[in-house]
């Protein structure tokens, strides 16, 4: 360890530079975290309104009154958009990635701190813009988070498709720019700011996951941005990229020759990598936590890295499996189907290795570990329906049913959220200097695990039985009426699960101020963030440059003094 003069050592003074427009990646990470926490509650509230409306369509609800069919579609659109962009993309990457990537590689900050700050505040503006869509004339847009044209391209296509839809696209364009700035920063930081001895193959798997996620973001968000520009032009400048000759309420719209499929291709070229942008950081956290709490090295470190790389690689080649219903050539569908099933291989490797990591470990069932195990469970349950949907013949039957809703919520929604919960319980001591309450953490875990399965497993059955998705009312559809008891069950499960989240929030804020003080390394983990003070000083290591001598997961090393060897342990290992 070498102490040296360092430009980052002098922390900024004054509230605004320290907490609002801070250049410190740790503060920015926490800002992202709280932005996502706000967004997740907005998104969750919208889903609650939808679930209540589905079973009690005439109920008068707070803020929205009695929900009209178009209001239901607005709720659906905004729930999806807010959750995908401002929660699943924001918290794992922007939040935890920002906070822990530099520390885990032994860097004093991100490569471009000013860009990092800009990227957060741009995201924040994007969030404000999308929330504004609720309050303009016509309300929020109806076209779903996927924004399929021509519905999304015609301001007269419905209430909410006017100014609301413009705000929606603008918000997403802003979000794209913010994500691109973030991705650029993450990649440069990982490649260029690693401490001495931190070779690529000594990086914690969390760092690998953030790095690969950033590469996906860098290549995917630009495409969404240009797709969004074309959509804005169709809406406001009278071009015909996506809109064919179309009649709305007896009026010819003046567009001709465009292709709604063009939007779908561009959107899903972004949209499928986006799924991995949401889940990859969760995989990284699960690997980290499973290894730490099993007191065993991660099973197959290199296999884990290559599996993530190949998931990222294949992620760019399978977008067409979202479009089997669009009338694409069966030959293309076959190719997309085959490539989609290829992703099953690295996913299975990862699952096998997670189980292998736990196998015969001395497992400590603390809250982060429970959530990591929950992540693996949900990843398997949600993932297994993937190969079903990858078959064009099956997908044509299942595509517009709740089967798909169940599938993607389990794998992309809840599994990713469990990754975030694992990350929160695991890193909370480092971030806020105090421990979260274990008992309430466990209660929260079991309620959430049972609750999410109770919400989303029946959806598979509902879909197989022909329960269509996106309908606002099932009470009026005769053949679906028999499935209503299932909807009642899911709604009650949702109410209970959402109520259980308040346990988490109260635990979070209570522990932030009143929890027992955390030591520097409460979980006896090995990576660099646990070598520094809690919470870390402004330059992360207090003027000291860490030197890395070990791999990231050296647990249970025979002959070592303790059952774990820190990455910066200078002694190496005494005997073996």
């Amino acid at each position: 360890m070498v102490a040296m003069e360092n430009p980052h050592a002098h922390a900024p003074q004054g509230f605004i530079r320290k907490y609002i427009f801070s250049l410190d990646h740790k503060v920015i990470g926490i800002q992202y975290f709280f932005l996502a926490l706000t967004a997740v509650f907005v998104g969750m509230f919208l889903s609650l309104l939808m679930r209540i409306h589905l079973v009690w369509p005439n109920a008068v609800l707070p803020l929205v009154g009695t929900i009209q069919p178009e209001t239901y579609l607005s709720l659906l659109t905004m729930h999806g958009t807010i959750m995908v962009f401002f929660v699943l993309t924001t918290a794992p990457q922007g939040g935890f990635g920002n906070y822990f990537l530099p520390i885990q590689i032994g860097a004093p900050d991100m490569a471009f701190p000013v860009l990092n700050m800009l990227s957060f505040w741009t995201t924040f503006v994007g969030f404000v813009v999308i929330i504004a869509a609720f309050f303009v004339t016509g309300g929020a847009p109806l076209h779903g988070w996927t924004g399929y044209a021509p519905l999304s391209a015609l301001p007269s296509a419905g209430p909410g498709e006017g100014l609301g839809a413009d705000l929606w696209i603008t918000s997403i364009a802003i979000f794209c720019v913010a994500s691109l700035m973030g991705a650029l920063n993450f990649i440069t930081t990982t490649l260029d700011l690693r401490a001495k001895g931190m070779t690529m193959m000594r990086m914690p798997l969390t760092v690998w996951s953030w790095f690969i996620t950033a590469i996906l973001g860098l290549l995917a968000f630009g495409v969404l941005l240009s797709a969004g520009i074309l959509l804005l032009m169709d809406r406001n400048l009278g071009t015909s990229f996506y809109v064919p000759l179309v009649v709305v309420n007896g009026q010819i719209m003046g567009h001709k020759g465009g292709s709604p499929l063009l939007w779908q291709h561009l959107f899903w070229f972004f949209g499928h990598p986006e799924v991995y942008i949401a889940i990859l950081p969760g995989m990284g956290v699960a690997s980290q936590v499973l290894s730490t709490f099993s007191r065993k090295p991660i099973f197959g470190y290199r296999a884990m890295v290559y599996a993530m790389l190949s998931i990222g690689f294949f992620g760019f080649m399978v977008w067409g499996h979202h479009m089997f219903m669009s009338g694409m050539s069966p030959y293309s569908a076959f190719a997309f189907s085959l490539l989609t099933m290829c992703i099953g291989v690295p996913s299975a490797i990862k699952t096998f290795n997670w189980l292998g990591t736990m196998w015969k470990g001395r497992i400590r069932f603390q809250t982060p570990m429970l959530y990591a195990i929950g992540f693996v469970s949900l990843f398997v349950s949600g993932g297994l329906s993937g190969p079903f949907l990858a078959q064009p013949v099956l997908d044509i039957q299942l595509h517009d049913t709740y089967f798909v809703v169940g599938h993607f919520h389990l794998i992309m929604g809840v599994a990713a959220i469990f990754g975030m919960f694992a990350a929160t319980y695991y890193w909370f001591p480092k971030m806020f200097g105090r421990m979260m309450n274990e008992t309430w953490g466990k209660i929260h875990f079991f309620l959430t695990l049972a609750g999410t399965y109770a919400i989303f497993m029946p959806m598979h059955y509902l879909g197989l039985a022909g329960g269509t998705r996106r309908y606002s009312q099932y009470t009026e559809v005769a053949y679906l009426a028999k499935l209503m008891p299932l909807h009642h069950f899911m709604t009650w499960a949702a109410i209970i699960t959402i109520a259980a989240q308040f346990i988490f929030v109260i635990n979070l804020f209570w522990s932030m101020f009143k929890g027992p003080k955390a030591s520097d390394n409460p979980w006896e983990a090995t990576t660099l963030e646990w070598t520094t003070a809690t919470p870390p000083p402004h330059d992360n290591f207090g003027g000291v440059t860490p030197v890395v001598n070990h791999g990231p997961y050296e647990y249970g090393v025979p002959g070592a003094a303790k059952d774990y060897v820190m990455q910066n342990d200078p002694a190496g290992v005494t005997a073996h």
């Binding site: 440069t188 401490a195 495409v223 000759l245 291709h265 997961y553 090393v557």
Partner: protein, 253 residues
């Protein structure tokens, strides 16, 4: 947070040899590889590392801009081949249309941009040379003389403004010939591609002005060199991108 079971841990033996754990079959010490950690070496800022980092960031940025133009190209080609139903003839027809681009004007603009790329490169090399010589000036008895370099950066800014003004003229000319953004798909793309390129070039112009002012603000020459260097690479990329857009509009009609 001590754990009572730690003492028993020796009972667990990993199946892999110790040296192989987690770091790729290398013995744990001494440290090899890894990056420069961004701290530099003591009091003197590590300009070499900063330059490398800035170039890496720029490469990522260029990858993104490439993705934007790749997706626009893909939309261009797909849209070109799309059939649309024609009620009069009761058949499917191509509605791509054509756009009468002012080729001679665009040719002059292209020449301006290419020349600006050359002047930018001269500015970049000049900045690099000055940065390399800067440490010598600190040695007692060594004088670098009073050499003044030609203001290549200023020339580049002027040529850049010339290019943008030329593009503006081209758009006006298109309007005069009756081609607007919504006239037909071909003109939509002609406007879209040139405007998106011009917007990116404007970003480069802002960086150029910043680079020129960084020199006025008496920043260290090494620091100024980094700004000039990444701006220059971005500027070259803009020239290549323009050639690409020009070729796309010219040959894929």
């Amino acid at each position: 947070m001590g754990h009572p079971r730690i003492q028993e841990m020796a009972t667990f033996t990993p199946t892999t040899p110790l040296d192989d754990i987690g770091h790729g079959h290398k013995p744990p010490a001494p440290p090899v590889g890894g990056g420069d950690d961004g701290r530099g070496g003591g009091d003197v800022p590590n300009y070499g590392a900063r330059l490398r980092r800035a170039r890496l960031g720029l490469a990522c940025g260029i990858a993104t801009v490439c993705m934007v133009f790749i997706s626009l190209t893909s939309a261009y080609i797909v849209r070109q081949g799309l059939p649309t139903f024609d009620g009069a003839s009761n058949t499917y027809v191509r509605d791509w249309g054509k756009t009468d681009l002012p080729w001679s004007l665009l040719g002059i603009n292209t020449a301006l941009l290419l020349v600006s790329s050359v002047t930018m490169e001269l500015a970049r090399r000049d900045a690099a040379r000055r940065a390399a010589l800067a440490p010598l000036a600190g040695i007692p008895g060594v004088s670098l003389g009073n050499e003044k370099s030609f203001p290549w950066l200023g020339v580049t800014v002027l040529l850049g403004i010339g290019f943008l003004a030329g593009q503006w003229l081209a758009w006006s000319e298109l309007h005069a010939r009756g081609f607007y953004v919504s006239t037909n798909p071909s003109s939509s793309f002609a406007f879209l591609l040139t405007i998106v390129h011009a917007l990116h070039l404007t970003g480069g112009m802002i960086a150029l002005v910043w680079a020129a002012s960084a020199s006025l603000l008496k920043k260290p020459v090494e620091s100024r060199r980094i700004v000039v260097d990444i701006t220059a690479w971005y500027w070259h990329f803009m020239a290549v991108l323009w050639i690409y857009v020009f070729a796309l509009l010219g040959f894929v009609r």
